[in-house]
Amino acid sequence: MANLMFGGHLLSVLIWLPVIGGVAALGLGDRPTHAKWLALAVSALALLLSVPLWEMFQTGTAAMQFVERAPWISTIHAEYYIGVDGISMPLILLTTFTTVLIVIAGWSNVEKRVAQYFAAFLILEGLMTGVFASLDGALFYVFWEAMLIPMFIIIGIWGGPRRVYATIKFFLYTFVGSLLMLVALIYLYLKSGSYELAVFQRLPLSLPEQTLIFLAFFAAFAVKVPMFPVHTWLPDAHVEAPTGGSVVLAAIMLKMGGYGFLRFSLPIAPDASRTLDWLIIALSLIAVVYIGFVALAQTDMKKLIAYSSIAHMGFVTLGMFIGFQIVAHTGKTGGIEMGLDGAVVQMLSHGLVSGALFLCVGVMYDRVHSREISAYGGVINTMPKFAAFMVLFALANSGLPGTSGFVGEFLVILASFKANVWYAFLAGTTLVLGAAYTLWLVKRVIFGEVANAKVAALTDLNGREFLVLGVLAVAVLVVGVWPAPLLDVMRASTQHLAEQLLFSKVAP
């Protein structure tokens, strides 16, 4: 219906509506109130228009849907080619959903350059949707890089005291990885004569070629995920970014790394993925265990959640590559999809939970202006409603059954079990460590006696904050209790991907 309404251009509308809205908001520079309402209207409209993506999605097929294809740069055979499958569609919904929440959450706590703040988030929303929807390598790359610009500005203008350091580090880290990916994309183009991803995925490549391409993609996506040892930009960026920036980073940008592995690394270089699976699995397990311990030692709430994000994203990459080990150890192919499903669910769940946790920290920061754990204590006495939400999200973060955090972790651990008990054991430590650092955080911040006068003067959530956290809480519980529709949506696509993984592209 809605797709027909736009003549089959629903995805384009989802990409360009926020971008145009953002540019219009920039034009309202000296009228911040108008800009805010415009941002709310545009982001709400985008969310509304993304619902038909879910409603009209055909679950039985791995083929791309809502496809739009038009010539773009014929000289280099790049096309404006977009579409979604069961993996990218939920991520686009996550993007539109999160942006509305960010706009509402930032309603009254942005002090300077208000119009530019909301404009940056709207433009970012459009570009991120573009990343998930692109089916053409050149188009993908343009969105992927362009996205850095608004994020650079967001951290740099509205961030904390060390914002300049953090944002330049963020930009350059990501830029290095991306440019190596660009070299790989151009190589694939020269080899195949097209930038179409499906062509890349079919293209036969020798193992040395695949290995280099895999490593180039790895440079781009590992930085974005971020994987150990290229994760060091994330704690800085998270700590310095304004609340909205942290939420976008945690909820969506990190997912692009995972999405990149699924869309590029695995299907384009399956043989190299198989030979180098040990690398990813080892780094993932280090992220899960080591970064878990690092998180335990943090005194800054945002930093703690940032490290927890790295550990959780380690789960995502583990789930993606564990399939190769299952085949190697058991000779059966049954668990591959389970790992992939777990990885995607974990990405979505982490998007909701970490976004929510950053919003919680933002709520406290707006009142006390400190992110230090030691500045709080006994918040439950003055903010009971807030405490309830915070505890719920903390439990979801530690993977409590019934919350979204459980589904993905459970699937990944189950898949790891099929490969080797030790993988599962190491992955399982995250349940212990995750519970330890999150619950200890909650204990120190929320429970106990009222720590100081500032905490005693706290006021509980206002209606706006309650709405934002409430919506997220519902989402976390729905995905946790009833993940079946989500799994149905992505089943065909992960199955297709699993087949691609097993198919050798090395010419005999």
Partner: protein, 484 residues
């Protein structure tokens, strides 16, 4: 070549040089007219100069052309590449004149000579671009260079400008001498001054000749100097910094297009058959330029100096396209050069816009807090900087993509990786400008000056960088057609 001179045949070829002839007449007329104008009427010099540039561009576009035409006894040749480069040069100079007018007036150096010298330099660039023989090539180059030396020294009360002019003149003459020496060796080896004659002689078996390689080395030195490629880049930072900004922008844009024309005429056209020899030399120049340009730019506090090192690094990327030795590589290099010129014109235009009486606005900190002073122009400058850094969706990205594709196409993967790694280094100092504009508070609250015309043209310039970045097809196609 031993063809007897035929006067009527020679004259018939003049029709192809119509734009050059028109520009010569116009420049002479403006020079005369300027003598009759009072200072209050001086703006007419600028207006007429811009009009004659646009008129010349129209004449170039109007020339019908199916294949390459060699005329005037082999001295002159007209092909699609020449047409495109000429039109871009003429329009760039017109834009530069518009940017310069306010600046000259505020400096109280609003003299007609600036425009007349600029027109003659443009004429030199056109002759060079259309050169069919080594003689015309050199003639055009010298006409352009001499005008530029004079333009640098044009603000005669400025000591630093005079110093730059001397430095530019001495080093430039040395480079011209080297180039001429190289040309004489090539002539001695091949027995021809015409580019076509040289090309067929080289194809005919001279390609492995040591003497020829010796000559090529001298040509590369000359070309490298005019381009400003490392290690022949010493003059660039000093001249960029010392010249009045309105001259810096001329040197940074129009003369780069001419240098590109020089390189294309000499290397692929005349010496295409010994591509293996000059490619290797260009690899060294290219890597060094990307490295030195990008790294040293980080240490600069003067924006003009920083842009000078940025130019050096971008020349390294242009050379990547040329050294690949394929049609696709030449197209990519041409695309890179044109897009760089568009962006550089805008960036220098921003300096000219912010400059006012007694204040050059060429320090990095002069851009502090620009977002608070003028969000619009901060946005325009951000577009230009991100484009220079090669971030999509701006035109600089497609330029970089093209040259990387060119070197990957000839299996120089390591060179592609080196190129992208140095462009990360480059991104840092462009980001620093964005940081100053957006993240810092202004130290100076003066309103942005500039005439309506200049502000409009500058905005259009920056928006062109964005527009061509989103839809680069037209420019890519133009370059593709120009060099098939």
């Amino acid at each position: 070549m031993n063809v007897p001179f035929n006067a009527s045949f020679f004259n018939a070829g003049l029709v192809y040089a119509r734009p050059e002839i028109f520009l010569t007449v116009a420049a002479c007329a403006i020079l005369m007219l300027d003598l009759l104008l009072t200072d209050a009427q001086r703006r007419w010099t600028g207006i007429l100069a811009v009009i004659s540039l646009c008129g010349t561009a129209a004449l170039v576009v109007a020339q019908p052309l199916s294949t390459k035409v060699v005329a005037l006894g082999g001295l002159f040749e007209l092909d699609r590449m020449a047409q495109v480069l000429k039109v871009v040069t003429l329009l760039t100079v017109a834009v530069v004149f518009v940017y310069s007018t306010d600046y000259l007036r505020r400096r109280a150096i609003f003299k007609g000579e600036y425009f007349v010298l600029g027109l003659f330099a443009t004429l030199g660039a056109m002759v060079l671009i259309s050169a069919g023989s080594l003689i015309t090539l050199y003639l055009g180059l010298e006409l352009m260079s001499l005008c530029l030396y004079a333009m640098v020294a044009f603000d005669r009360d400025s000591g630093i400008a005079a110093e730059s002019a001397i430095k530019y003149f001495v080093l430039g003459s040395m480079a011209s001498g080297t180039l001429l020496y190289g040309m004489s060796i090539i002539y001695g080896m091949t027995g021809s001054l015409e580019l076509d004659g040289i090309a067929s002689a080289v194809r005919g078996g001279f390609s492995a000749n040591l003497g020829l390689v010796f000559g090529i080395a001298f040509l590369i030195v000359g070309v490298g100097f005019k381009f400003g490629a490392v290690p022949f880049h010493m003059w660039i930072p000093d001249v960029y910094e010392g010249s009045p900004t309105c001259v810096t922008v001329f040197i940074g844009t129009a003369s780069k297009l001419a240098a590109f024309g020089l390189a294309m005429r000499l290397l692929p056209e005349a010496l295409g058959a010994s591509q293996a020899d000059w490619s290797q030399m260009l690899v060294v120049l290219s890597v060094l330029s990307m490295a030195i340009g990008n790294i040293v730019a980080i240490a600069q506090f003067n924006l003009k100096r920083m842009l000078a090192y940025s130019t050096i690094s971008h020349v390294g990327y242009v050379l990547l396209g040329i050294l690949s030795g394929t049609a696709q590589g030449y197209q990519a290099a041409m695309f890179y050069m044109i897009s760089y010129v568009v962006v550089a014109a805008g960036a220098f235009g921003m300096i000219l816009l912010l400059a006012r009486q007694g204040f050059e606005a060429d320090k990095l900190e002069d851009f502090k807090g620009l977002n608070a002073r003028s969000p619009w122009f901060a946005g325009m400058m951000a577009i230009l900087m991100f484009s220079l850094a090669g971030v999509p969706p701006f035109i600089g990205f497609w330029a970089k993509l093209g040259v990387i594709q060119a070197v990957l196409g000839v299996q120089l993967t390591w060179l592609a990786v080196v190129a992208v790694l140095f462009s990360v280094v480059g991104a840092y100092y462009y980001l620093r400008i964005v940081k100053l504009m957006y993240f810092d508070e202004p130290s100076d609250a003066t309103a942005i000056g500039g005439s309506m015309l200049m502000r409009t043209v500058l905005s259009a310039n920056a928006l062109l960088v964005l527009g061509l970045g989103i839809i680069p097809q037209s420019l890519l196609q133009l370059c593709q057609r120009a060099l098939q």
